[in-house]
Amino acid sequence: MNMRKASPRSLWQRLGLATLLAGLLVLGGCMNQPTHAPDSRTAVIAPNSGTLTSQQVFVTLLTTLAERGFIIERADPDLERLDASYAARPPLALEAWVSEVNGQIRLSVSGDSNGADIAPGRLDNLLVEVAVALDARTVPVIGAP
């Protein structure tokens, strides 16, 4: 008897609970947007023969990005850093820099596509193209992505 009386109320309660849960989920969805760290790649550009200067690597990086259709937003020859972006949806913004560590020339590229993932291979393509244009090869840096 008691059970039968209680069941309609529990149905309403359950409905209310479900609505509450759904509401919380909807609201929680906005809260949980992940802050995505930009994907980045670093490699040593090692010449197959002879020597290579960091300036050569930087200029080749610049022309490679330009020939792929990137707008060069900023390019600093002293810092050997550049910002480039490509108009698409989502947009693709790259930061790239050349550094010299223990006599080795490192090329780093970091990309952001409005928080969307950039597949690791796509940034590698860029590093490899720069290396090939200079008759060099890419050597991964231990401890760097």
């Binding site: 330009a66 020939e67 259709g69």
Partner: protein
């Protein structure tokens, strides 16, 4: 024998109905797949692809004339003559980048999901009596998007690369469209304008 005869068509008809009921489901599935895959095939080329098929057309890469300093001045002149504001210029690398904003009048009028931005609202209110109201709103003329265009001229070596892109942004800041804009005709025009600027003529005169 006569009793058995109707049984023969009965069996295939069972198979028939199941096949018939499967048909709309398959159609639904096919339509669903088409909808889900959407315009993924129509999306732009990947600028980070392994082969640079997404690269510039041939007309957008041409030999540089003059020395680096002369060329940079000519490039800045051309970029300004085309209505861009220069945002970056670097002599050692031969980079000039500019941007401009162009109104897109009329585009706002057709951009809405229902063709135009004329909206209706119908209300029925009960508060100390009944009333009924119809409202017509129009924001067609406030909502023209802006086309935000950029250009880069890059010539650190003996070759010039011309890169252009365009983003169409509505008044709410939403990017309606964003794409590279590297067409061969404008690249040839820019090449002629650079030649004119290097020869001391006004690049605006070049068509």
């Amino acid at each position: 024998m006569l009793h058995r005869l109707p049984e023969f068509p009965a069996r295939p008809s069972v198979a028939d109905t199941s096949a018939r009921s499967r048909l709309p489901r398959m159609t639904l599935l096919a339509v669903g797949l088409v909808l889900l895959s959407g315009c993924s095939a129509l999306s732009g080329k990947d600028p980070l692809a392994a082969n640079d098929s997404a690269g510039l057309p041939e007309a957008c890469i041409f030999p540089r004339e003059g020395d680096a300093n002369q060329w940079l001045r000519a490039a800045a002149q051309v970029v300004e003559a085309r209505g861009y504001k220069i945002r970056e210029g670097e002599q050692a690398l031969g980079v000039v980048t500019g941007e401009r904003k162009v109104d897109q009048p009329g585009l706002g009028a057709i951009d809405g999901p229902f063709g135009s931005r004329i909206g209706f609202s119908v209300g029925y209110g009960v508060a100390a009596g009944n009333d009924f109201g119809v409202g017509v709103g129009n924001d067609t003329f406030r909502d023209d998007p802006i086309s935000f265009e950029r250009i880069s001229l890059v010539a650190p070596d003996e070759r010039v690369r011309v890169i252009r892109d365009e983003q169409v942004i509505n008044q709410g800041g939403y990017v309606i469209d964003a794409r590279p804009h590297n067409d061969s005709d404008s690249c040839r025009q820019i090449e002629r304008q650079l030649q004119a600027a290097l020869a001391g003529r006004d690049p605006r005169e070049v068509r």
